[in-house]
């Protein structure tokens, strides 16, 4: 492959430059420059009127470490991420089930995928209506079963769970990724196991699951990276309430930066989030490297 890769022709250098120019400019302007700008801004008490404002050194960082709200939003975020992990196995189970279906595969796939590719806003607004204490579907069902209605999003104890619950009902996207991994398991492995007298559960336990463990690791880390940046769900469902119980890191950053125009402080917290996610990403890369199959 590599020998054939480069043409016998000496291509003009300016062609390469022209092809690369829009890409390099766009990536520099919207990825690298803002990244550097973010780090610089975090050392300033940034002023929009007269940028960059007053240099404060590590002041924003020491302030963040002492800010009780920072403490709270990280705790909230960690709790919500932890709750979202309750649904971690749902897509795996769905993928294992879908793997067995031959006839009707398309039908099931369509039914399970569409909710998973819905715009987040549609799902959130719909569930917000489900959670409505007076007219929402969930309380109607509870009353139908003879149970007391709940406050759902208005209940500080329940609100965190309410943010992640809809995700449990949309496992299709992740399930499809697992399904692709399952379909890559060679037939011969199962056939060998059948000869050895293995039943369904044994094959599942000793062949199927071990083969998708690396994928589970990747999905776990990717899920965590996404969940730690969660913004839309708390913003739309609760706006951070009740009693700040769903105020997460991204929401606090947004409020500081765009409601109170403390851009320097907001960026500082974003940089701290970035460093934290970098550690997670590093873990992911390591996980990926130790995986012999990929």
């Amino acid at each position: 492959m590599q020998e054939k890769h480069y043409s016998a022709f000496n291509k003009p250098k300016w062609a390469a430059v022209l092809f690369l120019l829009p890409g390099i400019l766009t990536f520099l302007l919207f990825r690298y420059y803002p990244m550097v700008k973010a780090i610089i801004m975090s050392f300033y008490d940034y002023s929009i009127m007269n940028p960059p404002g007053k240099f404060v050194g590590l002041g924003n960082y020491t302030r963040a470490l002492q800010d009780p709200m920072v403490n709270l939003v990280w705790k909230n975020t960690a709790t919500i991420v932890g709750l979202s992990l309750l649904g971690f196995f749902i897509p795996i189970i769905l993928a294992v089930l879908l793997d067995e279906v031959r006839g009707g595969n398309v039908v099931f796939r369509t039914i399970y995928i569409i909710p998973a590719i819905m715009p987040a806003m549609v799902t959130i607004v719909l569930w917000k209506w489900f959670y409505n204490p007076d007219y929402g579907l969930l309380n109607i069902i509870r009353q139908g079963l003879g149970a007391q209605p709940l406050g759902w999003l208005n209940d500080p104890k329940l609100a965190k769970l309410c943010l992640v619950l809809p995700g449990f009902f949309a496992p299709g996207y992740t399930a499809l990724i697992y399904l692709a991994a399952l379909q890559g398991i060679p037939k011969s492995m199962y056939e060998a196991a059948i000869i050895d007298g293995a039943g369904y559960w044994q094959k599942l336990r000793y062949i199927t699951l071990p083969r998708i463990v690396p994928m589970m690791g990747i999905m776990l880390i990717m899920g965590l990276i996404g969940a730690f940046q969660m913004f839309e769900a708390p913003f739309v469902y609760t706006g951070g309430g009740p009693l700040n119980s769903t105020k997460v890191v991204a929401l606090y950053i947004y409020e500081e930066a765009f409601n109170f125009y403390r851009m320097g402080y907001g960026t500082t917290m974003a940089v701290m989030l970035f460093v934290f996610l970098l550690v997670l990403t590093w873990l992911q890369v390591r996980f990926f490297k130790t995986d012999p199959d990929s």
Partner: protein
């Protein structure tokens, strides 16, 4: 590969298979039900939606039909005025009536008819207040406008229709309707009043969401989202395919590695850390000054540029394109070069047509990503007329909009995604699987 192989369909495995199908069907119900609920709610009116216990299939809306004898020598304007007045008074008095039809007859022939839906009652009312304050002539002019908007039909030569016999049964609604008519002081004389059911008002939430929300026309946001998504995707495909082609084919291997790292390294930067600086960059785009020298700049906030330009920088797209271009047979590209084709021609005439699948996957995923995005458009666009649909949905549900109209808007927001899936299923499924390898 399925765990249960075709070679071992014994009774024990059949039990497991049946269990699997039952679980999948139960799961499918949880997937479909929320959508059915959304759809059903969007077909309800603002009274029905609050009713407990709720019905999954909403009842057909109530309709009242007034039939009048037009006065001798009546003009179109007079009939319009009578139709609007009669409709408005009944719609106002009875919010449960979803449609009022008025029909005017002269010499046994239909000469004018108007269907007025409940959700337009406010507009009818606005015209009515004008009429009360001024002379009747002004009112007639106003009625003409709304009659045209609601599709009132005038038949100068009359139209033969079967006369409907007045119903034998008296209902409470008919009594109210008759009272309304006597108070309305119309030029025409009532002939009969019919109470029935009509199908078309079940779409009123959609009609209202789409056209009649005044300050928040969903149709406008829908169009904005469409424009933004298409342009974002086009820009992203252009920038990333050109770069990836150069990385794959036009530079030395050493440069290729460096450049690839430059592009895909950006995938590690979380969006959250870029939000604030990117906002500030777009506010004074591209720089306020360069090394102390003032630089020409423009404020791109509150323009579509703020949504489109950053979409070009997708490390994932470069990565996928590069992987695909690497697979293209070099001989084919070289053959074109022998014929004297320029590098741009080689790219557009040979490389691009061969890479249709990857363009399709990235195009569709990019479109859906842009369509579904909320946070960034919400931050950079404050002007109402430029809001995307997702921002519009957020603002609509936040402004305590009626839930049936919110639900209809949600259906409109979901529709393009569902249509995309129906038409481009294969590419979407491939794209999803590829996000798995991105990690």
């Amino acid at each position: 590969m399925p765990i249960i192989q075709p070679s071992e369909k014994d009774s024990k495995n059949r039990g497991i298979l049946i269990t699997i199908y039952i679980l999948l069907i139960l799961g499918a119900v949880t997937q479909i039900f929320p959508f059915l609920w959304m759809l059903s709610s969007s077909f309800k009116d603002n009274i029905e939606i609050y009713k407990l216990p709720p019905k999954l299939i909403p009842p057909r809306p109530t309709m009242v039909e007034f039939q009048f004898n037009a006065p001798e020598g009546a003009t179109k304007k007079q009939l319009e005025a009578d139709a609007v007045l009669a409709s408005f008074y009944l719609l106002q008095k009875r919010p449960d009536v979803k449609e009022v039809r008025t029909k005017f007859f002269a010499h046994g022939k239909l000469v004018y008819e108007l269907d007025a839906p409940q959700f337009q009652a406010k507009k009818l009312w606005e015209a009515a207040t004008v009429s009360k304050a001024t002379e009747r002539q002004d009112w007639i002019a106003g009625a003409g406008g709304i009659s045209k908007e609601l599709g009132g039909r005038f038949y100068p030569d009359g139209k033969n229709i079967e006369p409907t016999p007045p119903p034998a049964k008296q209902s409470e609604l008919r009594v109210v309707a008759a009272e309304v008519l006597t108070k309305a002081d119309l030029a025409s004389t009532p002939r009969s009043i019919l109470v029935g059911r009509s199908f078309s008002p079940i779409f009123d939430s959609y009609r209202k969401a789409y056209t009649a929300l005044g300050e928040m026309p969903i149709s406008r946001f829908f169009g904005n989202s469409l424009v933004v998504a298409i342009l974002s995707v086009a820009w992203q495909l252009l920038v990333c395919s050109l770069s990836a082609y150069a990385v794959s084919r036009l530079v030395s291997p050493a440069w290729g590695r460096v450049l690839l790292l430059f592009f895909i390294g950006t995938m590690m930067i979380p969006g959250m850390v870029l939000t604030i600086p990117n906002y500030l960059i777009l506010k004074e785009f591209p720089f306020r000054s360069l090394f102390g020298i003032p630089f020409p700049h423009a404020n791109l906030l509150n323009t579509f540029w703020a949504l489109i330009l950053p979409a070009g920088a997708s490390g994932f797209a470069v990565y996928l394109f590069k992987g695909f271009f690497d697979q293209l047979p070099m001989e084919l590209l070289d053959a074109a070069r022998i014929d004297g084709a320029t590098e741009m021609n080689v790219f557009t005439k040979i490389a691009m047509p061969l890479s249709k699948p990857v363009f399709a996957v990235l195009g569709i995923m990019g479109f859906m990503g842009s369509w579904n995005d909320f946070m960034w458009p919400f931050i950079v666009i404050q002007k109402k007329e430029l809001w995307t649909l997702m921002v519009g949905l957020y603002q609509l549900q936040n402004s305590a909009g009626e839930p049936n109209i919110v639900m209809a808007s949600l259906v409109l927001g979901a529709l393009p995604v569902i249509l995309m899936f129906v038409f481009f299923q294969q590419y979407i499924l491939e794209g999803i699987v590829m996000t798995g390898i991105k990690g």
